[in-house]
């Protein structure tokens, strides 16, 4: 029984943290172009100057 008092708040906090990440990702437009991202890995990085 006592374990519930720890686990449940713990889960809720974890979920809220994940939700915070989601809000950030959504606000920064990471879900806008779902097509282009998969091609991006194929580009070479610009050599460091």
């Amino acid at each position: 029984m006592d374990i519930l008092l720890i686990m449940i708040p713990g889960c809720i906090v974890l979920a809220l943290i994940m939700f915070g990440f989601f809000i950030w990702a959504n606000k920064s437009g990471q879900f806008e172009d779902l097509e282009g991202a998969k091609y991006r890995i194929l580009y070479d990085d610009e050599p460091q100057r």
Partner: protein, 807 residues
Amino acid sequence: MIATVTPCFHCGLETRNPLTGTIEGQERLFCCSGCRTVCEIIHSQGLESYYDKRGDAKSGRAAAEAPEFPFDHEDFQRQYVQQDGESCQVSLMVDGMHCAACVWLIEKGMARHSGIQDVQVSLGTQRAHLRWDPKQTQLSDLARAITQLGYRPYPYDPSKLDQPLKARNRDLLMRMAVAGLGTLATMYLAEPLYFSDFTGEEGSEKLLVWLALLLATPTSLYAITPILKGAWSGLRQKTINMDGTIALGALGTYFASVWGAVTGGPIYFESLTMFLFLILAGRFVEHAVRRKVFSATERLLKLEAKTASVIQDGVPRRVPLQAVRVGDLVAVSAGEAIPVDGVIQEGTAGVNEAMLSGESRPVLKQPGDRVLGSSVAVDGSLVVKATGVGQETQLNQIIRLIEQADSHRSPGARRIDQITNLFGLSVVVVAALSFLVWSLIADPSTAVMIAVAVLVITCPCALGLAIPAANVLAATKGVDKGILFADGAALEALPGVTHVVLDKTGTVTTGHMEVASLVPFRGTEKELLTLAAALEERFEHPIARAIKALGQERGLDLPLVEDFQVVAGRGVLGRVPAGQAAIGSEALLAAQGIALSPEARRSSDVLKERGLTVAFVGLDGEVVGLLGLRDELRDDAQETVRALQAQGIHVTLLSGDHRQAAELAGKALGVDRILSEVMPDEKQQVIRDLQHPDRVVVMVGDGVNDAPALAQADVGIAMGEGTDLSITSAKVILLGDRLGLLTRALQLSRDTQRVIRQNLILSAVYNALTIPLAVFGLVTPLFAAIVMPLSSLAVIGNSLRLTRKEA
């Protein structure tokens, strides 16, 4: 001097700013560095046979010249550029991107440009977002840099269309995520309540129940807000719409669960949150597909002139189209689209009004004549006094299109509205009746529980998803195939089609002329063609292009033409080594004092009889030959007509051209009925005459003159290469210039309607089975939790079959 246009060695398209590259020791010209690199790789790997294997290289249509935009003009900057402290930002639509390599090239190429702070290119939307330091560079330089990379930038105003769509996208995603989170949390909490043999202390079960209430309340409230709004607006019109039915179910479930939490009865929080999550997920997908369809439509519409050259103090200046006022003098150079409606002040030109009148040959216009926006001055320069300026910019057109699609209720959707209305009412009635009956035979609290169970189990989830799920998946499938369904009503009306009306020019024909017949009166065919091609060499006109193309195909050496002169709307004059020559209409030759010989007249009548357009060639006061030109039929036109007829559809060919031309095309296609010499305003009437309550009339067209007919038809279908107005008037757009997509669109719409019917049956069966169970008090929370999502999943799964089937 006119620059000769050499095709790109790799892709075969015209090269505007050719790049040179050395391939196998030979210097070659390329249209862009992408092609050059690809070609170098192909040759370095010894894969030259690729060029033989791919066959005809002339795949793409000729690249359009990038219009010059006044990128640094004040009005322009105000409209498109956002100032952001030290830096400026702009979104450009970039034409010519095909693959990830293009994205790479633009991003890397532009990043090297001085003053550039950030470049983001999206292949999906064909857009580039640039951020730069205005002190170091200016927008026109950046645009030029993109042009040099081989792409064409167009100004594009994101605030009008894209931002509202994006905002809605984010909002839906957010609500969906919240609902998902709520689902997850309540399911975790529900699991021990359902499945474990609960042996904890007295208080812990209560704890789980109250926690579920605590978590489900805010998440559901946030998720359901848009649905409540929709339900409220429905209630104000005294109907229970789909949102209303959903809200009824959701609220019933919620309050039943709160009651359960208070009294220690059953709770349904996890069913509620999952139900909301599924509904929102459906809406999110629907919105995403709609965004895709409209961004594709938007890309089709961007090519219209967006700037005009206005004469101010005697000097022409490029200004954005929005800055043109009625009464301004607008200069139009040869080959340019006329940006405004107006009256010609100076100059004469053949004006191609094919889009307005269906007449494929240019009409001679003189000072005092009226010209219409988006017609093309083919062979002369004009000064036009604007009488009508584009109040309706394209973006406004698209926005109107979206609003229409949003507000437009198809007959079927309206029928569903009636069903849901009835459904909502009957659920309330059944719940009330069960309460009454059960309160007579049992205690009041049992009666309340059963009434609530009725409200809960009849969640109209499946009903709510039945049509949108199928329509959205069909639209997605359509986009993949090159069919844009701008309006769900089209999907519904298409299966019942009884009559198809096809426009001739540009719809069943390619709109490109082709030389069909050479009739020399003196010398050989080759000599005639050489003379004609030499004269037309520097002339841009559908007929000239056809003659030049045939000349090139036969590899003719063209003599030099001196004193080249264009006679607007009639033809071309010039001096060749053999003498003074002319090619053009009968009127041109008459004006040159060349009379037609009886032989020439007979031959020209024969050609006209065959439905051809005749060009006369004169040399030193004599007619030396005739050329007959034909507008080519599309490869798949005949096949499409046959396929339609095989389905029992009556096919009509509609044309503004003269009778012979229309009949020639009509007979080749084997259509049921041919209507020729139809004036633009009559096209709509033709459709109206065909319409009948028992008939569904589909119009397929491409021109401005087809637009009223497209709008009048039960389903208007536009060709993707067609004019903007035709595209905005149509409900379905066929991309890639393939008429054959018409039969595919029909097939897809039939499949969709079948899936919708199945979905409705599924949800009806679900309700028919569960409502009696609820009425007799046999529904437990566990049963509801399993059965409710199952009904939605069945509907979604059934709809998904649409995307799987190879049509």
